[in-house]
Symmetry: C3
Subunit: 267 residues, 3 copies
């Protein structure tokens, strides 16, 4: 299996992605969606979220700053997404630090289909009911049992699960991809995880299935990160962030295929 064609499909279809996301990195998410070829619609108002999701090719929900208004908007967006059968990508930010967020996500998932959950390892483990180490919204887990945690949650929730870290792990509960690309610089800026989630939603809006869309999305972010970090000033976080958007924009099928370091196996 490979992820060839997804970048091209995204750039030719320009999928509209409704994003309900935190205020910290909402601008970065919109810009990264444009850079990967998708079209961002950052609508978080409850009364409009249902209509917007029905126009969209994918929905991205990120609970980093989950206001009461956003809670309602997520409900409405997921209702529209379920009716239109479009993929929903959920980013469970901070559910390791704040246990009540787990209850919220469990309830959400019992009401509406979720195709992809993408978090850091601490968040994925927290949702899977496995003990882990977090510091605020960041995971400080060493990542030894990342595959087991992702498979466990994927089987429990019946969806694609991705955990970001030194290695990124993606699974649909039967097949697993381990992406060994990336750079530590992605941890030096805020929003790398949110941007990854947004790109996954963009790719899932154009991909044939959410597993491929998720692998391609995380690969795109990791490779763009590698290139940004290697450029002039790329070891400095302000410059790195600017170059990261530049590099997402410059990705090609060829450059992705040439640099990808992905290991696939079955559970």
């Amino acid at each position: 299996m490979n992820v060839k064609g997804i970048l091209t499909a995204t750039r030719s279809k320009t999928p509209l992605v409704q994003a309900i996301t935190n205020y910290v990195t909402i601008n970065d998410c919109a810009n990264v969606l444009l850079a990967c070829g998708a079209s961002p619609a950052m609508c978080e108002v409850a009364r409009e979220a249902y209509d917007f999701s029905r126009l969209s090719a994918a929905v991205y929900c990120n609970i980093g700053t989950l206001t009461p208004e956003q809670r309602q908007a997520i409900q409405e967006a997921l209702r529209g997404a379920a009716e239109k059968e479009i993929p929903v990508v959920l980013d469970p930010v901070g559910c390791g630090a704040i246990p009540s967020r787990i209850d919220y996500l469990e309830e959400l998932r019992s009401q509406y289909p979720i195709q992809v959950v993408k978090g850091n390892l601490g968040e994925i483990k927290s949702l899977a009911g496995i003990e882990t180490q977090v510091r605020g919204v960041d995971s400080v887990d060493n990542g030894e049992d990342a595959v087991e945690a992702c498979v466990s949650l994927a089987q429990k929730w019946q969806c694609v699960v991705a955990a970001t870290g030194i290695q990124d792990v993606v699974t649909d509960g039967t097949q697993v991809a381990v992406i060994q690309n990336g750079t530590q610089m992605l941890t030096k800026i805020t929003g790398a995880g949110c941007m990854a989630g947004a790109v996954i939603a963009g790719f899932c809006g154009a991909a044939e299935n959410p597993f491929k869309g998720t692998v391609a999305g995380l690969l795109a972010m990791s490779l763009a990160g590698e290139k940004a970090a290697a450029g002039e000033g790329g070891q400095l976080p302000g410059t790195f962030k600017v170059k990261l958007i530049d590099e997402i924009h410059q990705l090609t099928e060829e450059s992705m295929a040439a640099s990808a370091n992905i290991r696939y196996f079955s559970v």
Copy 2:
């Protein structure tokens, strides 16, 4: 007619601009207001919006992420603006995709004076009641009848109307300016339209009339975009956005006059 002197007036008067705007690009709007010589006040709290608008030289309202709190704040700000007779610039983001936003804007306009409406062509046509093509918050209209649409809305709403696109059109219902500057790079980042609206508000806070302020504002954005796109890395969206702010800051009366490509005519 020309727009000479407006940039200089803005930089010497430092007009305070109250902006109630979407969370996606609020930072860019504040920075572009500073870069063009104005002073940003991004107050969106209902209980303070009336007081802030009365201290301001212009008000910018952008409905991109229109929360209930922002709805109230816009009412309060427009009440203050009407009392102080300061210009109000309205950015009808997304009204092409979400028809209920048209009703909202119609109601707002029936209650308070609006001096300028600035949108993409899809939004302007939607407000004018003309059929158009949109994708989410973006217009995909080919722009053939942009002048007619702007004139129609300007006459209906009795205000200055501007539609951005490959060409920017500005009209007060009798005179028309068509600005043939700009760059496609402005469509590769989020917020170029919002920033244009903010600059228009800044310029209208210092200009003798809103038609001139609007022409000058769109010209400034287009010329800064051209220069940013022509610089090193300017074809990459992350770098382009940084340079766009740099170029707004570096605009001069001379550089604007030398590069302006504006056609004026009467309706």
Copy 3:
């Protein structure tokens, strides 16, 4: 007295800083916290703010866009901070322009301990009850009596008070530090003040006392600003902002000690 060791302590302890801050510069605040070695948690939801503050090493409250939700979140965060006895840094944005904000801050301060108030001179004078000149959220005070104003408020509120300006003044009511570093470029971007507040909170989360943490935080911002302004393109606001984050990231104990221009005296 000097501020040696605080940067190192911040980078080794990685203090979690809960920030409830305005939507305009929330991304910059998160990135500057990472760049100085702290860990940002930008939680502003009332139902979660108490829990988050109890996990944190410091709390930063900035009232730039004070929504009803943020008001409640600040209450909850300050309650948690008081119980855990962690430092609270308050940024009284706009209280010079909007007098009702003074009442709000007075009430807040009567209910919960505040360790540091950091504002521009107009804001500090407004809180101290001294006449001043403001334009929107910016101070246009000439700064002659900055020390007196800070000492007055520090003695009235029994906390550390810092006023930013051409010179930055910090006092705990008995000792005073006047920092003569910095650059005018910090006034050409939005959020320099907010970022300074965030860095102060990060440093106070690792410093032995809030006076030292505040002096070190303002010094770090001023020195990073100087270096950013001196670099290529550093006189342009878009580029300057990118380099400012880069330079915060590159600060060292040695570079801070070598460039610091601080005058200390007793009241």
